[in-house]
Symmetry: C2
Subunit: 371 residues, 2 copies
C-alpha cells in the first residue's frame, strides 16, 4: 500500500508519488476524481470497482455536474440493484486523461499553463495504474470484482492481466482485448475532425474561451453512429421527417436522424474537452492486450486465479460478439473459469447502458456468486 | 426526342430546354458531360447506359483528367469485357450536381458567378431526367440495358420506375430503393464536417482559391470506412504500424489504417468539389422510390416490361443484401422477371468496383441474354 495520500472533501485523490506511464514518461501530482457508494466492510473485501467508458466519468449514480442528468449507471448501481450498494462498496474513478476531475490535457501543468498537447500520450494500462493507486489509498487490497463496459471492459481486462492479485472477479461487457482496424479508423476520423477545426489551435485553445466545438461535434456524431445498431436507427428514426410534412429541398435537418445526431454532437461539446477526446481515443487505439504479453492473449492471464464473465450484444457492431469470444477462448486456454453470454438487445453497442433486463440478471448473478 | 441539342467536341450536351426539377425549380442551360464507347447500330438498339456512384464520373474507361488514373470501370467495360464495347454502344454521363463537367454547384450561374449554395437541391430522379435528355439527343429511344452500382443503381431503379419505355433491362448492383437512417446519418456527418470548416464560407469559396479541404477530407474518411468491410480492413491493415517499429506515443498516423484514411481524404480534395458532395449526398438521402409511388415499392414498377437483375455482396454493410432483396420482392410483386444473387466478396460495398470475377460473369450473362 502506498504511503497515505491526500483525499480531499470532493473525493479526489492526489497521488503522492509520480505515476509511471507506458510511454516511459511519468506524471507528478496526478489527481484522481472518484465517487464511492455503500460501505467498505471490516474485512475490506466487499469492494467493486466500476470502470467507465470513453466519455463516461465517476458520476455513476450522482447527477452529472454539467448536464444535471442522472448518473450514467443509475439503473445498475444502487440499493437492491444488480450492483447492490447495500452489500457492496462501489468505487468509480474518472480515468487518467479525462476532463471530469482527474488529471488530463485540460489540467494545469507544472508551468502553470494547461497541458494541452504537451500532456503525455497515455494507455489503458496507465489508467489502470491510476485506479490501483486509488485502491491502495482506500486500503483495498483485493476487490470483490471489477465491472466495466466498452472502454471500461478494457480497463477490467488490463487490470486482470497486469495486477493479478487485485480482484477476484471480472465482468467485461461489450468490450474487446484489442482495437480493430475499423475501431481505429472511426477514432481517427473523429481526431481529424477535431484537429481540422482552426479553433483547436494545436490543442492550445483553453485561454480563448472557445475550443474546437464544431470539430468535436462532428467527431461525436461519427462515433454516435457506431454506438447504435442499423436496425435500432431504423426503428427509432427510419426516414421520418423532423417537425415538417415535406422535405425542404435544403440542407436543414429534414430527417429526424439528422436532427438527433446534430443534437448529440452539440450537447457533447458542453460537457467534454476536445483534447481529452483525442487522448482517450488514442489510448483505446493503442490497446492490444495480447501484444503487451508476447502476442498471445492467453499469456496475459497466466497466473491469474480470478473468475470471469463476458457479455456481448448481438447488435453491437463496434465490439461484436467475436471479440468477446476471442477473450473467452484465451481465458479458457489459460485455465480460468469463464462464463460468456451473448445477449439479444436492439440498441447496438449502447445496450450496456440501456434497459436490458437480461444484463441486470447476468450482473446480479455473477456478482452474487460466492467463491 | 428533343429538338437537336448542341453536342460539343468534348462530348458535352447543352440542353436546349430548361430541365424541370423535383423541387419545383428548373435549370436553364444544363450541360451534361459524357463519354461513349463502341458503335450505335443501325437499329439504335444496342445502347447501354452506365450510371455512376457518388464520387464517380463519366470517365468510365478513359483516364481521369485530374488524377491520371484509369477510368473507374476499365475492368468491366471494353472490347471483349463483360460490358462488351465490340457489341454494345456504352454511354456514361456525369450526373447533375456533380463537378466533372455536368452542371453543378461549382458551375457558373446566369449572373456570372458560381452557383454555390444557390444551386437547387436535386434528386436522383432529376439526375435521371438529365440522362434521358441525353438519350434523346443521341437518338436512343430504348436502351438495351441500364447498369449501375451504388448510387448508379438508384439511378437505374429511378429510370425503370419513371421512364418505363426507355430500357429493356436493368442491372442494379450493391444498391437500394431507399436510403436508410444509418445511410443518412453517415452522410450528415460528412456534410457537417464540410460545413464546419470555415473555409467553406457558406459554400461561397470559389473565388478564394481554396475550399473546405479539411472538412471534405474528414467527410471522405468517414464515408470511406463505410465502403469497406470490417473483415477487409482487418485483412488489409489489421493493427500494423506504418513505417515504424514502435508506437510513437503521439498523434501521427502510427497505424497503417490511419495513414490510408488520411491519404484517401486528402487525395479526394484534389478531385472533388465540396459543394457537389453536399448536393449529391442530399440527393441520395432524399431517395425513396416507394415514397414517390404512393408508399408501395411494387407500384413504382407497375406497367414496366423490363427484366431486372439485382446483385448484392455479403460483406456490404452500407447497402446490405436485405436492401436488394426488398427490391427483388417488389419487382416480383409487380410481376416482372427478376434474378437476384448475393455474391461473396471480401471488399464490402466497394466490391462492385473491384476484382470479383463472379460479378463479371453475372454482368456478361445478364447483358448477353437476348429477349
Amino acid at each position: 500500500m502506498a504511503t497515505s495520500p491526500i483525499i480531499d472533501a470532493s473525493k479526489a485523490l492526489t497521488l503522492p508519488e509520480p505515476l509511471p506511464l507506458d510511454s516511459g514518461r511519468s506524471l507528478d501530482g496526478v489527481r484522481i476524481a472518484y465517487e464511492s457508494y455503500g460501505t467498505l466492510n471490516a474485512a475490506r473485501d466487499n469492494a467493486i470497482l466500476v470502470t467507465h467508458a470513453l466519455t463516461g466519468d465517476h458520476h455513476l449514480v450522482s447527477p452529472h455536474p454539467k448536464t444535471g442528468k442522472p448518473g450514467w449507471w443509475v439503473r445498475m448501481v444502487g440499493p437492491g440493484k444488480p450492483i447492490d450498494t447495500n452489500r457492496f462498496f462501489v468505487v468509480c474513478a474518472n480515468v487518467l486523461g479525462s476532463c471530469m476531475g482527474t488529471t488530463g490535457p485540460a489540467s494545469i501543468a507544472p508551468d502553470g499553463k494547461p497541458w494541452g498537447m504537451r500532456f503525455p500520450v497515455i494507455t489503458i494500462r496507465d489508467m489502470v495504474r491510476g485506479h490501483v493507486t486509488l485502491l491502495d489509498s482506500l486500503g483495498i487490497q483485493t476487490l470483490h470484482a471489477v465491472v466495466g463496459g466498452s472502454m471500461g471492459g478494457m480497463q477490467a481486462l488490463s487490470l486482470a492481466a497486469n495486477f493479478k492479485d487485485r480482484a477476484k472477479a471480472f465482468l467485461v461487457i461489450a468490450s474487446t482485448a484489442r482495437h480493430s482496424a475499423q475501431n481505429i479508423a472511426f477514432h481517427e476520423v473523429g481526431r481529424q475532425a477535431i484537429m481540422a477545426d482552426p479553433a483547436w489551435r494545436e490543442g492550445d485553445y483553453y485561454s480563448y474561451g472557445k475550443g474546437p466545438e464544431k470539430g468535436l461535434s462532428v467527431a461525436r456524431m461519427a462515433a454516435h453512429i457506431t454506438y447504435l445498431s442499423e436496425a435500432g436507427l431504423t426503428e427509432k428514426f427510419g426516414r421520418r421527417l423532423q417537425d415538417r410534412a415535406e422535405k425542404t429541398f435544403g440542407f436543414d435537418a429534414d430527417f429526424q436522424v439528422e436532427s438527433y445526431l446534430r443534437y448529440q454532437g452539440l450537447s457533447f461539446t458542453d460537457r467534454f474537452d476536445a483534447n481529452a477526446y483525442l487522448y482517450i481515443t488514442r489510448a483505446m487505439d493503442y490497446f492490444d492486450l495480447a501484444e503487451e504479453h508476447g502476442g498471445m492473449l492467453a499469456n496475459a492471464f497466466a497466473g491469474s486465479r480470478a473468475r470471469f464473465c463476458l457479455v456481448s450484444f448481438d447488435t453491437d457492431w463496434l465490439y461484436p460478439t467475436a471479440e468477446s469470444r476471442n477473450v473467452a477462448h484465451a481465458l479458457t486456454a489459460a485455465g480460468l473459469p469463464v462464463s460468456f453470454v451473448e445477449l439479444s438487445a436492439p440498441f447496438g453497442h449502447d445496450s450496456f447502458l440501456l434497459d436490458v433486463p437480461a444484463l441486470d440478471r447476468v450482473v446480479a448473478g455473477f456478482l452474487g456468486e460466492a467463491r
